[in-house]
């Protein structure tokens, strides 16, 4: 039981070429900036967008193959799609919405209704069966949408930004519910999100999509430890550098950041913002990387302050508000930056 898909789609400015695979029981997150083609990828898998090239196989059964001229219509695919805004039918009750997939498969009304009510109870909406979507909150609507998608027992469940239309307070509950329900579901799941935190909370594996191409894929731990694209690094709040690894460090067109590494050749280096120290004057002692910069912006992020510093090597540092006060740091203020060579993680491209 697997998903093997090579998806080639061209729509407008988007040229999507992505390989996606998933194992049973696995949740794969697809992350990437807006317009990267994440939603189009899901729609193509669901059969709502025709492939220009490639093939899709679920459990070894080919459901679309451009060269082989095979194309299965959406209603015949063992695939369910949970839409970003739920898309519950506004003129049906919650129960009728959940029962829709069963009715479409010819299940008699009575037993479809019973099973739908049982599913509503599973997602914590036992008493809302007769409500219409307009009477439900955003979080409740997404629960109904989840039940509606899962009741048909699809082999593959596609989730398109399931939390995007839900306000922050309901998001945590919905995430817990989703995790609980998905752990009971034996099929494969793909989750599209633009929020890496969401991906980390739910997914086993992640595929980073940028401008229609897979920029990076792997286990969550791998991708967070070794980002391979500026977008991933930015989303994770990490400093990412790209250059040539040498005996002394990573050379970036003349500027070198010192590091201790055996890697040689084209490489990335990542530095956590908390590993970057700021000083009022040139620091004494051991740090190998020391330079003078200028604070470009200061952003409060919970109990820390993220300081963007322009200079020979532009970086973001994360320090305590107390440190900012002690440094007397403001926008445009000069500051000394130091990074220990041991804090610079270098890995080959």
């Amino acid at each position: 039981m697997t998903l093997e898909a090579l998806v080639g789609v061209r729509i407008g400015a988007l040229d999507l070429q992505a390989t996606v695979s998933a194992q049973p029981g696995e949740l794969v997150a697809i992350v990437g900036p807006n317009g990267a083609g994440k939603t189009t990828l899901l729609r193509a898998l669901a059969g709502l967008v025709r492939l220009h090239s490639g093939r899709v196989a679920v459990d070894g059964q080919v459901i679309e193959d451009v060269e082989g001229r095979i194309s299965t219509s959406p209603e015949r695919r063992p695939i369910a799609l949970m839409f970003q805004d739920g898309l519950l039918f506004p003129y049906l009750t919650a129960t009728q919405n959940v029962a829709f997939g069963l009715r479409a498969r010819g299940v008699p009304k009575r037993s479809a209704t019973e099973r739908a009510d049982a599913w509503l109870a599973r997602v914590g909406l036992a008493d809302r069966g007769s409500s219409r979507p307009a009477q439900l909150s955003g979080g409740e609507r997404q629960r109904v949408a989840l039940a509606r998608a899962l009741i048909t027992e699809p082999r593959l469940l596609l989730l398109d930004e399931p939390f995007a239309s839900v306000d922050a307070s309901a998001r945590v509950d919905l995430r817990h519910l989703l995790r609980d329900q998905l752990s009971l579901y034996s099929g494969m799941r793909l989750l599209v999100t633009h929020d890496p935190l969401e991906a980390m909370a739910l997914a086993d594996r992640v595929i980073v999509l940028e401008q229609g191409r897979v920029a990076q894929s792997g286990l969550i731990t791998e991708v967070t430890a070794r980002p391979r694209s500026p977008w991933v690094a930015t989303m994770l709040g990490l400093n990412l550098f790209r250059g040539v690894a040498t005996a002394t460090g990573l050379d970036m067109a003349g500027t070198t950041i010192a590091a201790l590494s055996d890697v040689r050749g084209q490489a990335f280096a990542v530095v956590h913002p908390r590993a970057i120290a700021l000083h009022r004057s040139r620091p004494e002692g051991s740090p190998r990387n020391v330079w003078r910069g200028e604070a470009e912006s200061l952003d409060r992020d919970r109990d820390r302050v993220r300081v963007s510093i322009a200079g020979p090597i532009p970086v973001v540092a994360e320090v305590t508000p107390a440190a900012v006060a002690e440094l007397g740091l403001g926008v445009g203020g000069a500051v000394w930056v130091s990074v220990k060579a041991t804090e610079v993680q270098v890995y080959a491209e």
Binding site: G47, E75, F83
Partner: protein
């Protein structure tokens, strides 16, 4: 609103326009034989015209629904060469003088018309029959349904149909269980307009179906005839038609007047 007084040069013709609509209505209402109204409406000739009108207009709505909704769907959801031309043709009966429509119907479906001869082989005759009155009313009124339904389809979010597809609904089920419920308000509005137009149809009906009491003499035709002999009957029938028109207008007020408050 600026609060300044609007110029009289605009107010006077505006009042004139309103008067042009209200004065005839007042004239009609002023002559309604209120005391004998019920007897008038239930009298033989008036009553049969009323029943025939209801029958023909409701059948016309039914035919318009069965044929017009699929055409509206085709116009809204598919693309084909000549679509702009088809759309223009669909609205033609709205601007065509109804009597011209009646002449055209007669020439096509009459005893010597090509369509009429084909139907004659099947034992079907349309001119000067009740079925002919239904065809004439449908010809004139169906564009209202098609336009309303096509607009509804264009506004409806197609992603609901996609959601239904991913849930296993085949195209026919998507149409019945998703598309039609989504456009129900447009469908109802289109049907109401179509019904009102069919009920008031005069020119095409009298030309194509004639003016045979009990068979093709619908209310507007009966009003015209009764004006010569039975003025009170004509007025009673006119009042019924006016009430129906007002009813449709009030029923659809949110569609047209809602936005202006």
């Amino acid at each position: 609103m600026t609060g300044r007084r609007p110029p009289l040069l605009l107010l006077i013709p505006a009042a004139g326009a309103l008067a042009l609509i209200l004065v005839p209505l007042a004239g009609l209402l002023g002559h309604v034989p209120w005391t004998t109204l019920l007897t008038q409406i239930t009298s033989n000739q008036v009553g049969s015209a009323l029943l025939l009108s209801l029958e023909c207009s409701l059948l016309a709505v039914a035919v318009a629904l069965v044929l017009g909704v699929p055409l509206a769907w085709t116009l809204a959801r598919t693309s084909f060469p000549g679509k702009a031309l088809v759309r223009a043709l669909v609205t033609l009966p709205m601007v065509l003088p109804p009597v011209v429509g009646g002449v055209a119907l007669l020439l096509a479906f009459g005893a010597h018309g090509f369509a009429g001869q084909a139907l004659a082989h099947l034992g079907i005759t349309l001119p000067f029959t009740t079925a002919g009155a239904v065809v004439a009313e449908t010809f004139v009124a169906m564009p209202f349904l098609i336009i309303a339904v096509e607009a509804g389809l264009r506004q409806a979010d197609e992603r609901y149909e996609e959601a239904a597809a991913t849930l296993g609904a085949a195209p026919w089920m998507r149409f019945w269980r998703v598309t039609l419920p989504l456009i129900a308000p447009s469908l109802a509005a289109g049907a109401a307009l179509t019904w009102a137009r069919a009920l008031g149809e005069f020119g095409a009906t009298i030309t194509f179906a004639g003016n045979l009491p009990g068979t093709t003499q619908t209310m507007p035709l009966a009003v015209y005839v009764a004006l010569e002999s039975d003025t009170d009957g004509a007025i009673a029938l006119s009042l019924v038609l006016l009430v129906v028109s007002l009813g449709v207008l009030i029923g659809l007020r949110h569609r047209w007047l809602g936005a202006t408050g």
